[in-house]
């Protein structure tokens, strides 16, 4: 299928030179094809190289060359004198325990650290295809209980630590994971409800999904922190973290319902008809035939929703819950370290990035498996 017009574009001179290929030739060929293919391309390349070189030099100067890596405790004079010229990475070793674990008792901080590792192991196991079995639900239940034991303590010789002392990375992971663990079944039920033939159930589900998706997450969190106590009978006082967690479950449920509904729509009618013909009940039909296929269809968008959700947990900053971002912001209230918030934000941004990047890589890998080519 080679057309005549293609002919001039194929670099004939190179075919002759193929006999004496050296690495240098490869490099030159690659450069010609990818950076200097035309005049416009060459100009773009040169401009970008110049800009990149400048950015790189000033970044290295700020972040490495002029940077200060440690100072004697709270003596930030050296850092202040190079402010704007170099980074003060000394703030990280000084504050990282607080950023990662908040006000959790210092000597007990191995517990949230271990809980974080359990979370990561749980995510890893859930991402492996050969673990997508019924037993996974049991694994999740066990892991979440283990995390609860580690964080709260009170049994097995662990001292009790109340929720208001939790903070940092474990809180972010708790909000995200519990939000998804409870939001997912909710999303499935609502997605089924939205496609139900029963008008009352369908409209209830539409109302729920559209109301939640129509407003910013912040207003849901305000509701959870301010309005929720109003709606409870006298004497019932639910912890702030739990209230935010409930808001997140409702929020995740609405968004996941929409993704799952997309998967349900992709299932051909024949599957429903065949299941009906077998005489399966509504729940058996959906549980055994429809949902497994529908969810498999939407795994990549589901992972994308997970990423968005993980990032969205940072909004609890606004209602004063100590998640990773809030501890980061709080750690630099300390007057000695106040001017070095950029360094702290970069550190925390890196942590968020690692989690989200891993998930997005994973989602892309799944997509590539689903659609080869």
């Amino acid at each position: 299928m080679t057309s005549i017009t293609d002919a001039p574009e194929s670099p004939l001179p190179f075919n002759g030179a193929r006999s004496r290929k050296t690495p240098a030739h490869h490099v030159i060929r690659w450069l010609r094809a990818n950076l200097f293919a035309s005049i416009t391309s060459s100009v773009i390349s040169l401009v970008l190289i110049a800009l990149l070189a400048r950015a790189f030099v000033s970044l290295v100067q700020w972040g490495y060359w002029n940077a200060i890596w440690s100072v004697p405790s709270d003596q930030t004079g050296a850092c202040r004198s190079i402010r704007g010229l170099g980074a003060c990475w000394a703030v990280i070793p000084e504050k990282y325990r607080f950023i990662l674990f908040g006000t959790y008792p210092f000597s007990e901080q191995w517990r949230p650290a271990l809980a974080t590792l359990v979370f990561i192991a749980l995510f890893y196991v859930s991402s492996r295809r050969r673990w997508w079995r019924k037993e996974l639900v049991a694994v999740w239940a066990a892991a979440l209980i283990l995390i609860g034991v580690l964080m709260w303590g009170g049994i097995a010789g662990l001292t009790y630590v109340s929720q208001d002392r939790w903070g940092g990375l474990p809180v972010t992971l708790i909000l995200a994971t519990f939000g998804l663990a409870f939001g997912f079944p909710l999303g499935i039920v609502v997605a089924l409800g939205r496609r139900s033939k029963l008008p009352a159930i369908r409209s209830l589900c539409v109302l729920y999904v559209e109301l939640i998706r129509g407003v910013p997450l912040i207003s849901l969190l305000f509701m959870a922190s301010v309005m929720f106590p109003l709606f409870m009978p006298d004497g019932v006082n639910i912890d702030k973290l739990l209230r935010a967690q409930i808001a997140f479950v409702l929020y995740a449920g609405a968004y996941l319902a929409e993704v799952i509904r997309g998967g349900l729509q992709a299932i051909p009618r024949g599957q429903h008809d065949a299941a009906d013909a077998l005489g399966l009940s509504y729940w058996k039909k959906n549980g055994l035939i429809i949902l497994p296929q529908a969810i498999r269809h939407v795994i990549p968008p589901l992972v994308n929703t997970f990423i968005a959700f993980f990032k969205d947990t940072s909004l609890v900053l606004i209602i004063g819950i100590f998640d990773l971002l809030t501890t980061a912001k709080t750690s630099i209230i300390d007057p000695a370290w106040q001017p070095f918030s950029v360094e702290v934000y970069i550190f925390v941004g890196l942590i968020y990035f690692v989690f989200c990047f891993a998930m997005s890589r994973y989602s892309r890998q799944l997509e590539a498996q689903a659609h080869p080519n």
Binding site: K197, A200, I201, G214, I218, L230, L317, I318
Partner: protein
């Protein structure tokens, strides 16, 4: 599945099952709606009780009372003596101000980055990929705080940076040269808008005639007349003045020019960069969704490359692009509520202050919901209309 063997007794049951199914359906609906009503009723009665205990009157009467809250950055005239309703309107305008400009900028930058990702220039496409990956995988709130901290770290007004003559960047925000808008200027702007609408209708008409007889009709003479000639005529006849006022440093602050407060500027940068990364991905996948055969077929017809892009590839790509783009616009608008974290007073921030001052939690949240549902509905309606239009044109 193997247990369901079709037999005689089963068939008899199936004849019943239609009625039974309907009955079960009705029972389910009554059950679910009953539970929902019971929960809402219980919550509501609790709320009424709690409100009466706390002596908070329900209703929107509080909107008429004096707000007493200062709002720093407004486009509308406002003073703390104004009623709450005025504060809310100022907040809505502030939300729209950041959302509309953010949507326009994010679309432009996102489209450019999306096209750059498809560039044959390796460096350009890699850079675009890094931009997208970096911005997508860090929470928006963190990015917003980061930009805000950078903004605060800028030199004071006296030592402001001047990237271009007349533009000042300092911890007071970004100051740009501006044109004072008088009534005559508004008429000229109206003329431009009218010219655009007329041009759009004309283009449709010319294209329809071109479809009918195949003759190419040029649009640019009309464009010149409608977009340059008409406004120039209006401007000349009304004597509008277009002198640009340059901002000047007087004392500790700037006089003249247009000032973007650091809160607003940080929010705008954060929203635009973050959303543009998502838009870039949408544009890239939209263009990639068009099969190569479309390019090849058009080339075989002897059409020029630009024409192919404009008339064949982009209209088809737009169809793929528009629905996810709509949800990005909605996201940007909803995300603008993060303003509260840096102290830019959008509608959510004002509702929050109101809530703290008056205790009218239900009303304040209801107002937020109303505002955002209206904006969401507006954007959806517009995008659906646009989507239907491009679908029609392409048959």
């Amino acid at each position: 599945m193997t247990t369901s063997t079709p037999g005689l007794p089963r068939r008899r049951r199936q004849r019943f099952s239609l009625n039974r199914q309907q009955l079960i359906g009705l029972a389910w609906q009554i059950l679910v709606v009953g539970i929902a009503v019971a929960i809402v009723g219980w919550l509501w009665s609790n709320a009424l009780h709690n409100l009466s205990v706390r002596r908070i009157s329900t209703g929107f009467a509080f909107l008429g009372r004096e707000a007493g809250m200062p709002i720093a950055d407004t486009w509308l005239a406002y003073s703390p003596k104004d009623p709450y309703v005025r504060a809310f309107i100022v907040g809505i305008v502030n939300t729209l101000r950041v959302a509309v400009i953010g949507i326009v900028l994010a679309t432009v930058i996102g489209t450019l980055i999306g096209i750059a990702r498809l560039s044959s220039n390796w460096l350009l496409s890699r850079l675009a990929a890094v931009y997208v990956e970096l911005l997508r995988d860090i929470p928006l709130l963190l990015q917003l705080l980061f930009w805000y901290v950078l903004m605060q770290g800028l030199p004071a007004a006296r030592a402001a940076r001047k990237p271009i003559e007349g533009v000042f960047l300092s911890n007071r925000g970004l100051v740009l040269p501006s044109v004072p808008i008088a009534e005559a200027n508004l008429w000229v702007i109206a003329a431009v808008v009218a010219g655009l609408i007329a041009l759009y209708l004309l283009r449709r008409h010319l294209l329809a005639r071109q479809m009918a007889d195949g003759k190419v009709r040029h649009l640019w003479p009309y464009a010149l007349a409608l977009l340059v000639g008409l406004p120039a005529l209006v401007s000349w006849s009304l004597g509008a003045s277009w002198t640009v006022t340059m901002p000047e440093l007087r004392g500790f602050n700037f006089v003249g020019g247009l000032t973007l407060a650091p809160e607003y500027f940080a929010l705008l940068i954060a929203l635009v960069t973050y959303t543009s990364a998502f838009i870039a991905e949408i544009v890239r996948s939209g263009i990639q969704a068009i099969p190569r055969g479309q390019w090849d077929a058009a080339a075989a017809l002897g059409l020029r490359r630009r024409f192919v892009l404009q008339r064949i590839v982009l209209p088809q790509a737009l169809r793929v692009i528009i629905p996810p783009m709509t949800s990005q616009y909605l996201n940007l608008t909803k995300n603008s509520s993060l303003a509260v974290a840096v102290g830019y007073q959008d509608v959510v921030s004002i509702a929050n202050t109101t809530l703290n001052q008056t205790g009218q939690a239900i009303e304040a949240i209801a107002l937020i919901m109303m505002v955002f549902l209206t904006i969401s509905l507006g954007i959806s309606l517009f995008m659906n209309w646009y989507n239907a239009r491009i679908a029609l044109v392409e048959r």
